[in-house]
Symmetry: C2
Subunit: 163 residues, 2 copies
Amino acid sequence: MLDNSNVKVKNGMLLEFAKTVELFDLTPIEARVFAYLYVEGTPLTLDELSEELGKSKTSISTSMRSLVELNLVKRVWKKGVRKDLYQANNHLYKQFLSFYTKKWKDATENRKESLLELKNEFDQIQNDIKDPQIQNKLDDLLDFHNRLDCFFKEASEIKKDGL
Amino acid sequence: MLDNSNVKVKNGMLLEFAKTVELFDLTPIEARVFAYLYVEGTPLTLDELSEELGKSKTSISTSMRSLVELNLVKRVWKKGVRKDLYQANNHLYKQFLSFYTKKWKDATENRKESLLELKNEFDQIQNDIKDPQIQNKLDDLLDFHNRLDCFFKEASEIKKDGL
DNA sequence: TGATTCGTACAGTTTAAACTGTATAAAAAA
DNA sequence: TTTTTTATACAGTTTAAACTGTACGAATCA
């Protein structure tokens, strides 16, 4: 009875937060693992998480690897503890937005490069057989990708304010 | 030979653009349909798309429905043509960013509401048994969601400039 | 009116992702 | 050293998503 309401609120947080985390293109289990680590606060082992979330240790291990790669979770050491301990990074906003904007910037930049290559190829076509429609579309697409790029550049600026 | 290079560039655009579209959480087939419609420019029927993309008409039909709901494609009529015709909206940047930011704003707002309900519930716990850790985390999460909200609000502002 | 053609609902199939259990290499303890 | 314990690679299984073909109601044409 004493802790009952506390636990209820905690579980609610866990559930809601995991949904938000999924928006950042994490798989459901990655999201749950991160949310659990974050709400719990203290560093936890793979076995503990496996137990608490009712998933196999292998599942936890693989999703943990992703989370570490994404810089959302870090491995921590504690004297006398043999197992690996993992802790959620607690700068939620900064971390999430930075890895998300990075992902987009990388993607759009790759795409821009490819489109520029296509433009080069197109420019080499003899003028009299160039399809002007294609010219237009190519330019539109390049413009679109440039704007996306700008958007996420501005986004990372905004991010820094709200540290 | 004459059109060969044109076609090659066109196919390249199609491929690259589809990848970008997928970033906006569209399924691969939705992305391809949209990209094809966009690159092609002229309105097309389900049958034509089915033929060109080598997918069943049903597949095209369902993905087209999503695209129309997302306001990325519109149905157009042409005198004398019995089949439905679909055309890609050509304000790429505006359309994509507006539906994307909307999606995020809706999601974070829902989440904020749920968290506020949890906060109410938490406030009703007797003070002496409140877990202060939970208090902190709840506040952090609310703060995080507020910032996300702000981010996408600012984002839609930026968007309007680059119309 | 009946005949034809369109778009999509639905059921079934294929394909891919998520997940698990076992086995193994690496590290720690004895 | 050997024994024990950890994290993960891998193969196999389960689960979910993507996709297709058939069938049917709605609309169009004759």
